[in-house]
């Protein structure tokens, strides 16, 4: 935590090394979040790229009130939501949820990633985006409901109900898979 504060302090003074270290620390987590939310690796990479470029542009005036992980996760979630809205409104049905899309990057890496993250991503793909977002931010990124509510600009009750309904939906999906 102290190390992170020092890195942010150095980044604010224009240190590219500090920025690189922050990038290395959070890039994989943030990419995982974006992939889970968008289920499209190339879109997810674009989101993470944009978030880091935008963050880099704040050097000299960046003010951190919470944790950097929480801040960057929120940025990725917000950017992913924008992408999700703006991308063609294709129906993400059961068939489409079979695989994670990828238009770029290393194919081998893609296969490894798909195997590691595929199961949950597929299941979460069948849950409403808003519910998926809350579940992932809470369970994977250790954000409290209050933090999520503030980050997404919604009430804490809405966050909790989205979380509850999302988990319920997930359970129903899993049960249906078992009984098939």
């Amino acid at each position: 935590m102290i190390d992170e504060k020092i890195l942010v302090w150095r980044f604010n003074r224009g240190s590219k090394d500090a920025f690189r270290m922050l990038y290395e620390k959070y890039k994989d987590d943030l990419l995982g979040l974006a992939i889970t939310l968008l289920r499209d690796r190339s879109l997810a990479e674009d989101v993470v790229h944009d978030v880091f470029v935008s963050f880099a542009g704040t050097t000299g005036s960046f003010h951190l009130s919470g944790t950097l992980k929480g801040y960057l996760s929120t940025c990725v979630a917000n950017a992913a939501r924008d992408r999700n809205r703006s991308r063609s409104r294709r129906d993400v049905g059961l068939e489409a949820a079979e695989a994670i899309h990828s238009d770029s990057g290393n194919p081998v890496q893609h296969v490894i990633d798909s195997e590691q993250s595929g199961r949950l991503t597929e299941l979460l793909g069948r849950v409403a985006y808003e519910q998926r977002e809350v579940i992932v931010l809470h369970l994977h990124h250790e954000m409290r409901f209050k933090e999520i509510a503030e980050a997404l600009g919604i009430s804490i009750n809405t966050v909790q109900s989205r979380y509850r309904y999302g988990l319920e939906k997930l359970r129903t999906i899993m049960n249906s898979m078992v009984t098939k």
Binding site: G14, K16, F19, R20, Y23, K27, D28, L31, G32, I35, T36, E45, V48, H49, F52, V53, S54, F55, A56, G57, T58, T59, G60, S61, H63, S104, G105, N106, Q109, D113, Q116, S117, R119, L120, T121, L124, I135, V136, L139, H140, L167, E168, L170, R171, M174
Partner: protein, 144 residues
């Protein structure tokens, strides 16, 4: 374990472990460094801006400004002092004409105060013959 807890545990355990590719890293870092350079070139944010981001700093700055304004006002319009008393404190003409009493009067109001005190002392003594000595005058007035 409750079903909801099971699901939570499953989601936690199944957190995707993906890694970014070298191409993405290079692209992101290159563009980020360019953004940093651009921000730094555009000009460093001024120090006051950085300092005043904290609430405590804002309060402290406001307090300093208020104190400075108060001191400036005080310096420009000093509080009106009562005029120095030029009337001597000595009661009798003899006391009013002693060196100590005249010295005090001088320090309080300058030569005008000395003149005023001596005039008052002589008024109290009234008109006398020119031949009478000071000692006699004072002895007559004070009963000494």
């Amino acid at each position: 374990m409750k079903p909801a807890k099971n699901i939570e545990e499953f989601v936690r355990l199944e957190k995707p472990h993906v890694t970014t590719g070298g191409e993405m890293d290079e692209r992101t870092l290159t563009d980020s460094f360019a953004a940093m350079d651009e921000t730094l070139r555009a000009g460093k944010p001024n120090a006051a801006g950085i300092i005043l981001r904290s609430k405590m700093a804002k309060l402290a700055a406001a307090a300093v400004i208020l104190v400075a304004a108060g001191l400036l006002m005080d310096y420009r319009n000093p509080p009106v002092q009562p005029p120095p008393r030029t009337v001597g404190t000595a009661k009798s003409p003899a006391e009013m004409l002693t060196m100590i009493s005249l010295n005090i009067a001088y320090r309080r109001g300058g030569i005008e105060a000395v003149d005023e005190q001596t005039s008052k002392a002589f008024e109290m003594l009234g008109s006398q013959s020119a031949t009478v000595s000071i000692h006699e005058l004072l002895a007559e007035s004070n009963g000494v």
